[in-house]
């Protein structure tokens, strides 16, 4: 299906474990983004990517790693999960840096 998809939809993990959240888009958008949504904070940018092999930090990058080997995929990895990383994670894409974002449905992550 066309669009932007995230997987898994829900994930429970333990502190210290590595977990990877997947994001795939079919529009060939150049830009992809990872946001986290927490109560009292709205949406905060974790990392973004302008093209394959080009990534940059956002507002809250600590504890996260991203890669973009292909234009359509932008996985987000928590190398050693902490409870503070319990959140809802949204991937987004846009055709241009100044265009509106299209969001995926989100991944709800719980770190126990």
């Amino acid at each position: 299906d066309a669009g932007i998809t995230q997987s898994p939809r829900y994930k429970i993990t333990e502190t210290g474990r590595q977990v990877t959240l997947m994001c795939h888009q079919t529009w060939s958008h150049s830009y992809m983004f990872w946001y986290r949504q927490d109560l009292g904070h709205g949406l905060r940018l974790i990392y973004y990517s302008a093209a394959a092999d080009i990534t940059d930090k956002g507002e809250v990058p600590d504890g996260y790693v991203v890669s973009r080997s292909k234009t359509e995929n932008f996985p987000l990895t928590l190398e050693s999960a902490t409870r503070s990383q319990t959140s809802v994670y949204f991937c987004a894409s846009s055709s241009d840096l100044n265009e509106k974002l299209f969001f995926g449905s989100g991944t709800q992550l719980s770190v126990l």
Binding site: F33, G40, A50, G58, F90, K100, G106
Partner: protein, 114 residues
């Protein structure tokens, strides 16, 4: 320091009436403002936007007003419908910003009662 502020966490409105959602910002370099709507268990979806060179933009039942001198924008929904019940995020973009990302407010939860 929060650059985009939505000071009302929630708003309740009767069906058919006007809903007014407010947003204040502190950064005078913002040149583009957007509103996103979010239903539970879904990602945010773009609703309406306005450039800093305009003071009003209308799209059907949705109108966004921008008051640059007050650094304030508002989203008007007329008439409100139960299907408008969602969380609304205000977002702003920095002109030529190196990160190019949108700065989001914390959101306002709108409830439209039948």
């Amino acid at each position: 320091d929060q650059q985009v502020k939505q000071n009302s966490p929630s708003l309740s409105v009767q069906e058919g009436r006007i809903s007014i959602l407010n947003c204040d910002y502190t950064n005078s370099m913002f040149d583009y403002f957007l509103w996103y709507k979010k239903y539970p268990a879904e990602g945010p979806t773009f609703l309406i936007s306005i450039s800093s060179i305009k003071d009003k933009n209308e799209d059907g039942r949705f109108t966004v007003f921008l008051n640059k001198s007050a650094k304030h924008l508002s989203l008007h929904i007329v008439p409100s419908q139960p299907g408008d019940s969602a969380v609304y995020f205000c977002a702003a973009r920095v002109n030529g910003g190196s990160q190019g990302n949108l700065i989001f407010g914390k959101g306002t939860k709108l409830s439209v009662k039948p």
